[in-house]
Every structure is written in C-alpha cells, then in structure tokens.
C-alpha cells in the first residue's frame, strides 16, 4: 500500500514538473534546479524527523520557533563569543536533541498530549529567541572566523547543494532505520496501536521518546542550514510556520496523522512537491498572494486522491 502511495505522489510530481517545464522551460535550468534542491534539502531534513514523530501518532508544532531560537544562539556563539565553529555546531545539535528529549519525556512520563507540549514549545522558544536577541536581528556578517562553516552550509558538492546532499544521506540512513530494522517495525507498531504494541513487549515509551530526540537532532541540522540561507535571523519571524511545511510534506507523502502509516520516500517526495509548488508560483508569474492557496489546493487534491485509491483498494480486496 505504501509503495502505491509513493508511486501516486511521484506521478503527481512528474506531471507537475512536465506541465511547468512546458509552460516555462527555465524550470529545468541548472540555476533553478540548484535553488530548488537547496530548499528541498533544508526543508526535507527536519520533515524526515517530523514524519517519524507523526508515524508514532505524535506531532511537533515547535519546530519553527526552535529554528529562531537555535539560529539566534548560533549567531551569538559564532559572532559574539567567537567559539570555534565545530563546537558551536555541536552545541546546537545537542541542545536541539535535549529539547526533543524533554518533549518526549513530558509526553511519555507525564502523559501530556504532544499537541499541547509542543504548542507550549512554539510559544516558549519564540519568546526566548526574542528575549535573548533583545528583539534585534542577529546575523553572521561576513562570517569572519567561520568561513569554512559558511561554505559548507551554502556551498555545493559537485554541483549539488550541500543541504540536498545532507538530506539524501540522512534519508538513506532513515530509510534503513524505518523500513529495514526492528526499531522501525516497533515504530510502526506503536503508531498503529500503542496498547497492542505495549502488550507485545515493545518499550513504547522509549520508542516515542527516541523519535522526538531524532527530530531534535534533525531540527538542529536544518536550523543551521536555514540560518546560513538567510544569513540573518529576525527572532520574531524566522522559521515561523515552518513546522506546517513539515507536517504538510508528511501528510502529502502518505503519513497518517492518526499514526502507523508513512514512508521516508513519501516524506521526501512530499517535501519536493511543496517546494516545486512554491517555485512554480514565481516561475509562472502566478501572483504571490495565491502561493498558499496553490499549496493548500494541491495538498487537498493529494489526500482526496489517496483516500479514493484506498477505498477502491478496500472495495477490490473485499
């Protein structure tokens, strides 16, 4: 079933690309493919983590605010404290992982709902980001002292933008973890039926906590890519609503918000589709104001089509 879903969204993506290329051949120009791949990479990395959380039946609304907080901290560590960049990067990733751990523990030990825990996170991290930055825009200036990091984050490897390379590597590892390991099977089992999974001997709490930690790590990595993409972080707006892009990508890619369903390939295809949609708005000269309407419309078409396919499949098999 999952494979069929992946195929369906892949076909949707191909059709879209063919149509856009027919309308504006510059869609396939190297510059445009590179630009879009860069954004797909940065959005794809955290979407993978968010997808994992969604597969266990959870949700995280705090990702966008975390980007602001992590970005502000990164800028302060690099430009004000002049820490060596590998240390700064490590601090960001570890800190983000710890935030994920706290989310996971609050959800599993105190039995709080993920929506509530991460909604509080959304508010708290945004507020902290603004407080720490004193409501001023933080930036990297000319990156004196950490040019290597800047090149790494904004550069390309054999013409492929580094965020995309990172996403491909992380995606490959995640594919093995989710689809070819015992842990992955536990993850799906937990999402499908938590009680049944617990009775069959799976440490459900540990599985759930681990997904939030993985999401934390991936959020940390994405945060660094986004920070260097904009080269400045305005704490009140940086990353605002980005968690919704991740959730939309996961849903579009076949994840069910009820848990238990989804695939790595689907999430990556979903992310790609969302970025291509935003790209075509500019390329085809569609008014910017329609951007969100186009995105929402295509997601709706995607999930409606998915629902109809499933019903037909259920009908055929019965």
């Amino acid at each position: 079933m999952t494979k069929k879903k992946d195929l369906a969204i892949f076909l949707l993506l191909v059709v879209l690309c063919v149509v856009v290329t027919a309308l504006n051949p510059r869609f396939l120009s190297p510059a445009n493919v590179q630009n879009t791949a860069r954004l797909i990479g940065a959005f794809g990395i955290f979407s993978l983590g968010l997808g994992l959380v969604i597969i266990t039946g959870g949700i995280d609304l705090s990702v966008g605010s975390s980007f602001a907080l992590l970005g502000v901290i990164l800028s302060i560590m690099l430009t004000e404290w002049h820490l060596p960049w590998p240390v700064a990067v490590l601090v960001i990733v570890v800190f983000a992982a710890l935030v994920g751990l706290v989310h996971g523990l609050l959800i599993t030990r105190l039995r709080l709902q993920p929506f509530v825990v991460t909604l509080c996170g959304l508010l708290v991290y945004r507020g902290l980001a603004r407080f720490i930055a004193d409501d001023e825009t933080k930036g990297f200036g000319d990156a004196a002292g950490f040019r290597t990091l800047q090149h790494l984050m904004t550069g390309s490897l054999f013409g492929v933008p580094t965020p995309f390379v990172a996403m491909a590597l992380i995606g490959a590892v995640m594919w093995v973890v989710l689809h070819r390991s015992v842990y992955g099977r536990h993850l799906f089992a937990t999402g499908r039926n938590e009680t049944a999974a617990r009775f069959s001997g799976i440490d459900v709490r540990r599985v759930i906590v681990s997904t939030y930690v993985i999401l934390g790590v991936l959020t940390g990595i994405s945060a660094i890519f986004f920070a260097f993409y904009t080269n400045s972080i305005s704490p009140s707006s940086h990353g605002s609503f980005f968690e919704l892009y991740g959730i939309a990508a996961a849903v579009l890619g076949g994840c069910s918000l009820r848990g238990g369903e989804g695939s790595i390939v689907g999430i990556l295809l979903g992310t790609t589709l969302l970025q291509v949609l935003q790209n075509l708005v500019n390329l085809l000269g569609i008014p910017s104001s329609l951007n969100f309407a186009v995105m929402g419309g295509v997601i709706l078409v995607g999930v409606v089509g998915d629902q109809l396919l499933q019903r037909r499949a259920a009908h055929v098999s019965s």
Binding site: N24, E136, S232, S234, S236, S240, L283
Partner: protein
C-alpha cells in the same frame, strides 16, 4: 487592624513615589508608544530622551508595543489611567484603531508618529512621507537605468500602508520612462521565502534590469540571492532602511542606494512639538496636521558617516 495599617502605609508610599515622579508642578507627562520592539525604536528612544533632557517642562515615558492592536490598547488605557498629558503613538492598525485614538483624544493630547491615522481625531502626525520616500527610490531606479528596463519589486505584504505608498511613489517617478515594473512578489516576512523569491526571479526573468526591496529585510535577501547567483554588479539593487547587511552592500557598491528614515527625529520632534502645544503654542502644527520628517538617500560615499552616527544612536 494590621491589614488596615498595611494598606495605609502602602497608599502613603505610592503617593510619595508618585509625587517624586514630577519634575515640577507645571511639568507635563508625555508618553511615546511604539508598534513593536526593534532596532528602529531604540534610535527613536534616544530622540525622546534628548527632548526630555532639553526641556524642563516635560517628562517622557517610552513604551514598546508588542505588535498587536490589543497590546497598544492596554498601554493607552494604562497611560490614560495614570493621567498623562500627551500620547504619541504609532498605530499598528490605523483603520481599526480610530475609535481608540478618538477616545484617547477626548481625554488627552494625541499625536501619531511613524504610521498615521488621518481619519482619527489625533492632533498631528510626525513621521515619514512614504510616497516621497518611494519617489526617492524611483529616482535611484532612474539613475541606474537611464535607458529603461524591467524591474521586480519585493515586499512582505503589499496591503500594508507603507508598502502601498512607497509603490505609489516609485510608480509616479518612473511614469513616462522606459522602466517597467514586472511584478511585486510578497513573502509574508518569511526571510527564506524572501530570498527564494529573488533567486527564482533571476531564473524566470534573466532580463530583469534592477531589483527593488521595499521593506528592510528585503535588502539583505536580495543581496544574498544575487550574490549566490554570481550576479553582483550585473543587476542593480535599490533598497529601503539600514539593516547591517544592506549598509555593507551599499558600501561595497552591490546596492546602488538605500532610502533611510530618521527615527531619532520622530522621537525628538514629536515630544518637542507636544510640549509646545501643551504650553499653548500651536504654531508648529501645519494646516495639514502632518509634520514630515524627510527620508535620506544613502549611496556608497555616505555609509561610513551614517554608520558612525548609527552606532552612537544605538549606543552599541
């Protein structure tokens, strides 16, 4: 009994503290209310402090808004309850805050600054003329494109009043020339989208002759996207405001020029004018009830001097 004396002592203390707050019996308490918290207002604050220090007939209270109309209403009600003699405010949503401003205007002297609410009963507006600022940007565009060409504009939200007025100023100036506005792309203040919009414009319109950013962060967004596309120097950039990266861009020549406002003067002139009005001198209020603080165009040679002044004003 104990409770009563505690209440009594508290009241006495409050009265004493409140009394200490007055410079003299003829001193007027003024308040300067912003729309949100940003670098811009740090500079305006210095202007209000200068007015406060210069004149012994006013005390100035500086209040930062939280970006919402509800937040401003709370601040204004608080100030009215304290009995301030004048409020200068930058309304977040002028069209829908008219009632609040009118209500305040019945009880105290009300000025608007930064963003005007002409439909309200405010006494006067002190701030930027965004149409004029747009015209200055239009002149910059004309100077880099003497033979005309297609230009693309970028902004957060095009329905915002200052965006509309700046656009109007640009359109007025380039009317009759061979300069053509392709479109205005919006990003809802998302800097990632702001930069992607520019990158995608460079792909979709290889013949684009100039890029114009209407809001402060559009400057760095355009600069970074053009740099990534290796087109620095090929596509002229015109921006507004003075973000650090924008100033660096003007200094290096990558940005042809930026139009900057003078928030220090908003603070200084609003407070000074209010003090005069309260003292009975209304000569400073023009018949249009709008005092425009002119915007400045910064080009390559102006950056060093401007930066020096900015660091002084920001106090860092």
């Amino acid at each position: 009994m104990r409770l009563k004396s505690a209440v009594g002592i508290t009241c006495a203390a409050v009265l004493v503290l409140a009394g200490c707050n007055r410079k003299a019996s003829s001193t007027h308490a003024l308040a300067f209310v912003t729309n949100n918290a940003s670098d811009f207002w740090t500079i305006a604050r210095k202007g209000t402090e200068k007015a406060d220090a210069e004149r012994n007939d006013i005390t100035v209270e500086f209040r930062l808004g939280d970006g919402s109309a509800a937040g401003q209403k709370r601040i204004v009600e608080d100030l009215l309850a304290k009995g301030v003699d004048g409020i200068a405010i930058s309304p977040v949503d002028p069209a829908n805050q008219t009632a609040m401003l009118d209500d305040a205007a019945q009880r105290t002297l009300v000025f608007t600054h930064d963003s005007d609410a002409p439909a309200s009963k405010r006494e006067c507006y002190v701030g930027t003329d965004n149409v004029a600022a747009g015209r200055q940007a239009g002149d910059l565009i004309k100077s880099v494109l003497p033979n005309g060409g297609k230009i693309m504009l970028f902004v957060g939200q095009i329905d915002a009043r200052n965006a509309q007025e700046r656009l109007q100023g640009i359109k007025e100036t380039i009317a009759g020339t061979k300069i053509e506005i392709l479109d205005v792309r919006t990003d809802d203040t998302d800097r990632v989208r702001a930069k992607a919009n520019v990158a995608e414009t460079l792909v979709a319109h290889p013949d684009v002759a100039a890029l114009v950013g209407l809001w402060s962060y559009n400057g760095p967004a355009i600069l970074n996207a053009v740099r990534d596309a290796n087109k620095i120097g090929q596509v002229p950039i015109i921006t507004f405001d003075e973000e650090d990266e924008t100033l660096s861009g003007v200094k290096s020549g990558a940005i042809a020029g930026t139009v900057v406002q003078q928030p220090f003067e908003f603070g200084y002139q609003a407070m000074t004018l209010m003090a005069k009005v309260l003292a009975g001198d209304r000569s400073g209020i023009p018949s249009t009830r709008q005092v425009f603080i002119p915007t400045r165009v910064l080009r390559q040679n102006d950056v060093d001097e401007f930066r020096k002044k900015l660091i002084e004003l920001r106090g860092r």
